[in-house]
Every structure is written in C-alpha cells, then in structure tokens.
C-alpha cells in the first residue's frame, strides 16, 4: 500500500518542478533563450523569500515580512538579478549564452556559500515560514501544502497560457524563429528578451522559489547545483519544448518516475543498485522520447495552430538565441 501522505509529498515536489518547467518553457521554448542557469534564479528566489520572511532574531536574521510580502519581494529581487544577468548574457549567441547563464548560476551558488553572514553559508537556513502551518496538524499539512502548490501551479499555467496567446507571446515566438527578420519587422529583440528574462525571473521569485522552500523546509546551497537545472530541462524536453501542457506533463512524469523508485524495496546492501535506477530511467526516458518523438510528448503546433497539421520535430526547428553559432550555418 502506498500511503497518501507520501503521494502528497511527491506530488508537491512534482508540481514545484512543473512550475519551474513551465517558466523555463516560457523562456526557452517560446522565447528561444536556452537558459542553463534556472537553478541560479530559483536559488535567488528561495533565499530572498526566506530572508525576507524569517524573523529578525532568527539564527540567520531576516526582515520578518508576512508570507505574501516575502513572495512579492522575492519576485522583485529575482527579476532584478535576472536583469543583471541578462544584460551581458543576452548579448551572446547560441552555446555562449548557454555557458554564460550556467556560469552565472554557479557564481550565485558560490556567493551564497561565501556570504555566510547573510545566507548561512554551507550550513544553510533551517527555519522557513510556511503558509497556514500553525492552523493544521502536522500530518495534515502535506495535503495543505499540496493544495497550495497546486493552486500556484494553476496560476502559473494560466499566466503562461495568457502570454502564449497574446501579442507579446506572438512577438516572442517570432523573435525566436527568426531573429533578424523579427528585427526587420520592427521588434527590438534585445529589449524583448531582456523583459522576458526578467519577467521569468519575477515569476520564479514569486512562485517557484517560495514553493520549493516550503517543500524543503530548509535551505542549503548544494540544492541549487547543475543537477536541478538538468532535471528541469529534462522534464521540459520530454514534455515537449514550446507546448503548453507538455512542461507540466514532463515534470510530473519525470518526478513520478524518479520517486516511484522509492517504492521498490530492496535489501539495504542493494541500495546502490537501486539508486542507479533513477538516473537510468531518466536517461532512458530522454533517449527514447527524443528518438521516437523528437519534439517531446506534446508539440508546440498542437498548442497554437488551429490547422491540425502536426509537424514533427519541434526541437529540431527550435533555434535558441542565435542558433547560428551552433549549427555553423546560416541563421
């Protein structure tokens, strides 16, 4: 028998990933900015939230703001950091953009470690203000948290959907498809990307950062390493880059598979074999989906066009910021 409480915990984690994956999709799938630094932005959001909300007399002192204030504040701070990163990084093209966002994420993590007077360093922060925690019994709280996270996920989905169907979303996809042409039709691609990048930062700060912290209950810098970025990316690619529902499905599937491994019980001596199952499944899932449905499980075409023509291979046509550099061909 699988306990409901465990399912609720796993589902909460899956939904946090689903939010992050949707926002990455907004940025990379529609905006064409292949950001390998999402983990860095999530770290900024999570730390800002905790530092804004925790009590001034806590071990790592904060400002003691209410939860909602903390979320909004975290959003603003993350948006500013995103703007700061985007300013140099968005000048770069293709794999150089990938690398520089990656480097920024690493810098953020290192600064969190070094700045231990503010962030608690490697020791991290152990107290987290969570919504309605006092109002419920501890064994009911996982379900409360699941409910809150689910609501936030729906909000993020609605936001992303609305962006997708708007003039702004259209311009964004146009700039992704063909940067020079978008410029030649009067779009300032640079400022469009800057605003998208900061906007994604804002949403990560408001939604993903706090929700992730609520789930974790404590913060340590090692949570925000490259693995987090890779996991979110894998979820996005499996679900389908550019599709609306794909990122949600991808994240739920990936987390589901990873955590389902926990339900297999083996002798403790075989624990290391079991621990290999999770990366193996993620790897196989990625390879198989890309081999047989290279656009991911859901496609962008399905999400937008009313034509019914299903064009295969979204990923193939996707051009991350100035893909020219990667393809070595013409843009």
């Amino acid at each position: 028998m699988i306990s409901m409480s465990f399912l609720a915990t796993v589902a909460t984690l899956a939904l946090v990933y689903a939010m992050a994956t949707q926002l990455l999709n907004l940025e990379a799938g529609w905006g064409g900015m292949w950001d390998l630094g999402v983990a860095g932005l999530i770290a900024v959001g999570a730390y800002s939230y905790v530092l804004l909300t925790s009590a001034p007399d806590a071990m790592v002192p904060g400002l003691g703001l209410p939860i909602l204030g903390g979320m909004i504040g975290a959003g603003i701070i993350t948006a500013l950091v995103a703007a700061l990163i985007g300013w140099p990084a968005l000048r770069l093209r293709g794999e150089y953009f990938l690398i520089s966002t990656f480097a920024f994420a690493e810098i953020i993590r290192q600064l969190i470690i070094i700045g231990k007077d503010v962030t608690g360093g490697t020791f991290g922060i152990t107290f987290v203000k969570r919504p309605f925690e006092q109002a419920f019994r501890f064994d009911a709280y996982p379900f409360v948290l699941l409910g809150i996270t689910a609501v936030l996920t729906v909000v993020v989905y609605l936001i992303c959907s609305r962006v997708a169907g708007s003039v702004y979303g259209m311009t964004m996809r146009a700039a992704r498809d063909n940067e020079p042409l978008a410029m030649a039709t009067g779009t300032s691609v640079k400022s469009l990307r800057m605003s998208t990048y900061s906007f994604v930062g804002l949403l990560i700060g408001i939604f993903v950062g706090p929700a992730f912290v609520w789930f974790l209950g404590a913060l340590v810098p090692s949570t925000f390493g490259a693995t987090l970025t890779f996991t979110i990316w894998a979820a996005l690619v499996i679900g389908g880059l550019g599709s609306r529902i794909g990122p949600v499905v991808g994240a739920l599937l990936l987390t589901g598979v990873s955590e389902a491994v926990r339900l297999i019980e083996v002798a403790p001596q075989q624990a290391h074999l079991l621990s290999a199952v999770q990366p193996a499944l993620v790897g196989i899932l990625l390879i198989v989906v890309l081999r047989f449905r290279p656009g991911g499980l859901f496609t962008e075409q399905k999400s937008f066009a009313r034509t019914g023509t299903d064009v295969k291979g979204e990923l193939k046509r996707m051009r991350p910021v100035g893909m020219a550099a990667v393809n070595g061909g013409e843009a």
Partner: protein, 286 residues
Amino acid sequence: MQNLFFGLLTGAVLAVATSGFALLRNTERFLHTAHGQFMALGGLLGLTLAQQFGPWLGLPAAVLITAAIGVVCGKLLFDPIKAQGANVMLFTSVGLAFLTYAVMLVVFGSDIKVFDVQLGSARQIGPFMIAPGEIVLLLIAAAVTAGLWLLLSRSSVGRSIRAVSSNRELAQIRGVPTNQISSVVWALSSGLAAIAGIMMGILGSTSAEAGWTYILLVLAAAVLGGVSNILGVIAAAMLLGVVMDLSSLVVDTAFRPVIAFALLIAVLVVRPQGLFSFASRKEAVA
C-alpha cells in the same frame, strides 16, 4: 611561479579532454554532454583493469574499450537522430550521461577510488618543484595532443575529418565515407576522454560522481577556445588551467570558481566568438 606549473599540468589534462569534445562537436555538430561521464568511465575502467592486468596492459585496454563504447553509442543512439539536428542530439547526450552514470554506479559502485600509481617525489627543476610522474603525465598529454594534431593535419583520415567538419554534405559528395569518419571521430573523442579521465584519476581520485564536475570544465574550455578550432581549444584549456591556478595568488581561493566563471563571461562579452576563433564571425544576415 610554482603555480604556473600546476596550471600547466591541469591545463594539459584539460586540453586532452577538451580536444576530444571539440572534435566531436565539429564533425557531429552537437555538444556532447556525456563526454564528462566518458572521462569518468575511462578512469574507472582504467583503474579496475590496471588492478587486474597491470597498468601497461590495463590502461590502454581501458582507453580502447571506452573508444569502442563511444563508437557503439554513436552508431546506436546518435546516427538515427542525426537528421533531427543539434538540439535533439544535445539532449540525447544528456540522457546518455544519466545512463552512463547509472551503469557506472552499478558496475563500480559509488565510492571514491584511488589509482595505485605513485608519481614520485618532487625535485627542484629550474624554478619549479616537479615530480617525475608529473613530467611523464605532461609528456603523455603533449604527445597525445601533438599526435591528434598530426593526425588531423597530415593523414588522409585527418583530411577527411576536416572535410566533414567544414561541410558534411560537400564531403559526402566528394566521396568521403562520412559514416566511417563519424565512427573514427567517436572512437578518437571517447579515447581522448578516457585518457584524460585516467590522468585526472592518477592526479587525484576518480569516482562515478566525477563526470558531472569534468563536463563543466570541458565546456568552459571549449567555449573559451571557440569550439571550432582544435588548436584554439587546446590553448584555451591550458590558459584556463593556468588562470585558475594563478588566480589563487591574487584573491582568496574561495572566490576562485567565481573568478574563473566571471572571467569566462567577461571574455565572452568582449569576444563572443571565443578567444582563439579565427573564423570571422558570421553575419547575422546571410
């Protein structure tokens, strides 16, 4: 001064690894994220086989096996999706990285392993304190990169590889057996990964986890060098090694990764095509 030598040593190993990565990137046109895992695989295989059959037999065997695994992966996983383009291949490679990691966990376990190879104690040579084994490693790295360069520039296989990397379709039309060349490149690239992985293992330690760390350095060096140019990539790897080791003279070592990455970003912003890319930047509008 001593740090300069340390940097050279780090850089030389990194150069071996990165040249393999760049080679594959240039002919197969995607970023092979699993390269770091192949390094770890080579290191672990080398360690295990060296224990069984001694280093003289075991280490070359590990390199050959890794190369063979690379060829098989290329044929089985990457050839069928070549038409799907760089992104699909990039993420397939991420998948392969996870898979290789899992296999290493099963086969070798997760603990840290140490090569049973002594490098000897250091002697004063000029301004440097150098251990004999370090010279051997440095020489091997130099020989491997020089060999690669000779192979690429002098041999007919090398000419074919370069033809494929500059224009695959054209090379095919001109009768270059592109599929065989792909296999050769996979073998070379994976073999180089194994050599670098073994050297990393001898210098420090090796484990299934190490691959994730390796790939970061390789990516950084490759991008810094402007991926398309093997010599540039080698130079960038050396430079990265030296800069990382020299930076600790100037700033607190806690800031070393921050400095290294900030430097990387700064270089990219000033020269977006990498430090040593000689090809002029393609105009956005072609």
